[in-house]
């Protein structure tokens, strides 16, 4: 059961920090008595990174290949969609990792793999204190683990069964997992509704009686029912109106701070991810091309794809105070994940690409204390090196052909960060 106090009735429980703002959230249509100072006090800045938090989830070399069948009388497997192809990352306990990239990059597939809606083709996903490998457990063994790993979906209109009341939607996990006696379920559901800022008296209403933002709150309440340790949030706010987005993001931040939930936050909105996630992984065509803490990704991205993505984000304040940043135009579309380009998958759209990029796949190389990048020409925006920084490490020459005079080095590929890393400026291993 919950170790935090979910009783939010101020009369019964005046000590609970929830009671400070629960009444306002519970009646979202009547807020005129609120002043800006009060509402501003409830707003949150960007979530901070806790660099010492242990990993709640370590994903190592995770792969998901979907078979492609031939047409014809006999259907053979003629290829695979490499939706996710060998990605590694960690989600710290109580922290958030953002997963960004264009549609089709494999970020949603990753979320579904972690919640085991798909069975991965390869790799491991160690979860929790017991380091259970979610990739290997049977569906039966997965059932108790599903309490700990929950999902919030994008579309609040289709992810709730219209024929079930809110009470039964939120309460279903309780009866399925038999964690609360039957007669207590209703009370618990009411508590949860209050936590997510809905009127608890509405537990017997149907989803269509709620607005989009309120439905997303119902989805969140459902995900919270079993006190999960990890929430996979797949585009949780992109279907919502702007003003409602901020309500939901604030709610998620509050819940994270109070309940210590870790988030894998999948979104295409780079600004929202920046606000919510102290660490961000950028995916392109099934691979992580860059992963780092917020300041590094948004301040000194070293991968040309990350730089292009960031330059494409329209920026209110920048544009309003005059001038806009120079955009890096990405030509064309993302190539097919059935036949991805050889070597570096981004090379077909990359303005830095050279011969080596087609021949050798760049490894996800650690180049800073909390920064990994997969690019032969990794460098700050506008300051990319002329020769591949990786050539020496990989035992190849500047064009990517094998160079017998250089011995390739052993590059760690694990999910976490090492104490020593490769400095791209000096081209040497350094340590903190």
């Amino acid at each position: 059961m919950s170790n935090i106090n979910l009783d939010t009735d101020p009369e019964r429980n005046p000590e609970n920090p929830e009671t400070r703002h629960a009444p306002e959230l519970a009646k979202p249509d009547d807020v005129s008595h609120l002043s800006f100072a009060e509402i501003a006090a409830q707003g949150h800045g960007a979530t901070r990174l806790d660099p010492d938090a242990p990993a709640v989830l370590s994903v190592d070399n995770l792969k998901m290949y979907f078979p492609v069948k031939s047409s014809g009388v006999v259907r053979r497997t003629i290829g695979h969609v490499q939706a996710v192809d060998g990605i590694s990352f960690e989600v710290p306990r109580g922290g958030s990792l953002g997963l960004v990239g264009e549609s089709g990059c494999g970020k949603s597939t990753t979320g579904r793999l972690i919640t085991r809606l798909y069975e991965p083709t390869g790799g491991s996903m160690h979860f929790g204190e017991d380091r259970v490998d979610l990739a290997k457990v049977s569906n039966r063994a997965m059932k108790p683990l599903r309490r700990d790993v929950q999902m919030i979906f994008q579309d609040p209109y289709t992810s709730l069964n219209p024929r079930h009341t809110v009470g039964s939607i939120v309460g279903a996990p309780l009866s399925v997992h038999k964690v609360v006696p039957k007669d207590k379920i209703k009370d618990r559901v009411k508590e949860l509704l209050e936590v997510v800022g809905l009127n608890p008296e509405h537990y017997n209403r149907y989803p269509n009686e709620f607005s989009g933002g309120q439905r997303q709150r119902i989805g969140i309440a459902r995900a919270l029912t079993l006190n999960p340790k990890l929430l996979v949030a797949d585009e949780p706010v992109s279907a919502l109106d702007v003003s409602i987005q901020a309500q939901v993001i604030n709610l998620l931040q509050e819940l994270q701070a109070e309940m210590g939930i870790a988030f894998l936050f999948i979104a295409h909105d780079l600004a929202i991810v920046r606000h919510f996630c102290p660490e961000v992984a950028v995916m392109y065509l099934g691979k992580i091309v860059e992963i780092a803490d917020r300041e590094t990704i948004y301040g000194s991205a070293h991968h040309p794809y990350t730089q292009a993505l960031l330059s494409a984000v329209p920026d209110v304040k920048q544009a309003a105070i005059g001038g806009r940043r120079e955009r890096i135009r990405l030509e064309g579309d993302v190539p097919s994940p059935i036949n991805p380009p050889s070597g570096c998958r981004f090379r077909t759209r990359c303005h830095l690409a050279q011969d080596i990029c087609a021949k050798v796949e760049p490894p996800l190389l650690q180049i800073g204390p909390r920064h990994k990048v997969a690019c032969h020409f990794a460098g700050e925006l506008g300051d990319a090196p002329r020769t591949p920084v990786t050539a020496g490490l990989l035992g190849v020459d500047g064009q990517g052909s094998p160079d017998p005079s250089v011995t390739p080095e052993d590059i760690p590929t694990g999910p976490g960060y090492e104490k020593r890393w490769f400095d791209v400026k000096s081209r040497q291993m350094v340590s903190a």
Binding site: G43, G45, I244, Q247, L270, R274
Partner: protein
């Protein structure tokens, strides 16, 4: 009509729909204008009336149910009350519209080329099929679709999302319209594709010198595209003026709320995300007084219960430039600078 009037003038536009639950007022007393070569950005959330008002410009509402009053003048010609034949001459020829979801907005059963050619031929009845097809290929090429002579025979589902939106734009521009209305043209697209589409729209606008209305909920898109901005809430204009003015010196708490609801990709990480509490109002039973007052967190700074009882006029604010706002607040710029800005964008304050 005077020849100096802007290309599109909307005056006191009101659109009502009778429903089983009563009369819904989707747009009320809306006025704005757009000149050729200029872009007006209309911002608002779902239900704010931004799409409904633009559809009225094309006369797309069902004449049997929609009750439209006020005036919409396109190049001096009155659109409200115009008959179907007159409207058809305007649609696609002088005014083109592109829609949010190009996959849904293109007919799934017809080839891209056929749909473009159809748009051309309806306004060029003398054109042969071959000419229409050539025009379609030319337009696809113009909007940057590779191998247009081959892709012209593709169906919409064979295009990627970005290419479909390009095809949609090509279809809109095939008859050289003087006004292009883009309703959430990039909402469903990835940022990289969005950037391509916005660039394309700007290039085409400077080439064709058309007037553009861009409807969006994304202030970033507005900031990059719009010369003028109209903020709508619950069917009414609540703030209207030059884009830079609206985004840097907004005077209406709703606009402040929109600005504080979206994080900025380059802003200070200490900036707070401050939502607008509550939900947009029902158009069936709009709140009394200012429609925004139940969600407004600054109404305590207005004496008495003015906000709850009296609809504020849409009038010129204190600043020198043309800047209309619908709010009872006396000194909004002071409140914005002293209270709001330090919380949502401390770094901007320092620059000042």
């Amino acid at each position: 009509m005077s020849s100096t009037e802007p290309f599109l003038v909307v005056e006191d536009l009101t659109v009502r729909f009778p429903t089983e639950d009563g009369l819904v007022t989707a747009v009320q007393d809306l006025s704005y204008s757009v000149e050729k070569g200029k872009t007006l950005g209309i911002v608002g959330e779902s239900g704010s009336g931004k799409s409904v008002s633009s559809m009225a410009v094309l006369g797309l509402h069902d004449a049997r149910t929609a009750r439209i009053t006020g005036s919409i003048r396109v190049d001096g010609q009155e659109v409200v009350g115009l008959n179907e034949a007159g409207l058809r001459k305007l649609r696609g020829r002088q005014i083109a519209m592109i829609f949010q979801d190009a996959l849904a907005a293109l007919h799934p059963f017809y080839k891209i080329g056929g749909q473009l050619a159809e748009a051309y031929q309806v306004h060029h009845p003398k054109a042969t099929k071959r000419e229409a097809r050539r025009k379609a290929v030319e337009m696809l090429d113009r909007v940057g679709i590779p191998q247009p002579d081959r892709r012209v025979d593709d169906f919409p589902h064979q295009f990627s999302g970005g290419m479909r939106q390009r095809a949609m734009i090509a279809m809109g521009l095939i008859n050289d319209p003087s006004l292009l209305i883009a309703d959430e043209p990039t909402t469903a697209l990835d940022v990289t594709v969005q950037a391509q589409i916005l660039d394309l729209l700007q290039d085409l606008q400077s080439e064709f010198n058309s007037a553009v209305i861009i409807i969006t909920h994304d202030l970033g898109v507005i900031a990059e595209m719009a010369d003028d901005v109209l903020v709508m809430y619950a069917g009414r204009g609540v703030e209207y003026g030059p884009g830079k003015e609206i985004l840097t010196r907004p005077q209406m708490p709703y606009t402040w709320g929109l600005l504080s609801s979206v994080p900025d990709v380059t802003g200070d990480t200490d900036s707070k995300l401050i939502p607008i509490p509550g939900n947009p109002p029902s158009l069936l039973n709009p709140p009394t007084g200012c429609a925004f007052h139940p969600r407004c967190v600054h109404s305590d700074k207005v004496e008495g219960d003015l906000c709850a009882t009296t609809m504020p006029a849409f009038e010129q604010g204190n600043s020198g430039v043309r800047h209309l706002k619908r709010c009872h607040l006396r000194d909004p710029e002071v409140i914005f600078e002293r209270e709001v800005l330090p919380v949502i964008a401390p770094e901007l304050l320092e620059e000042k």
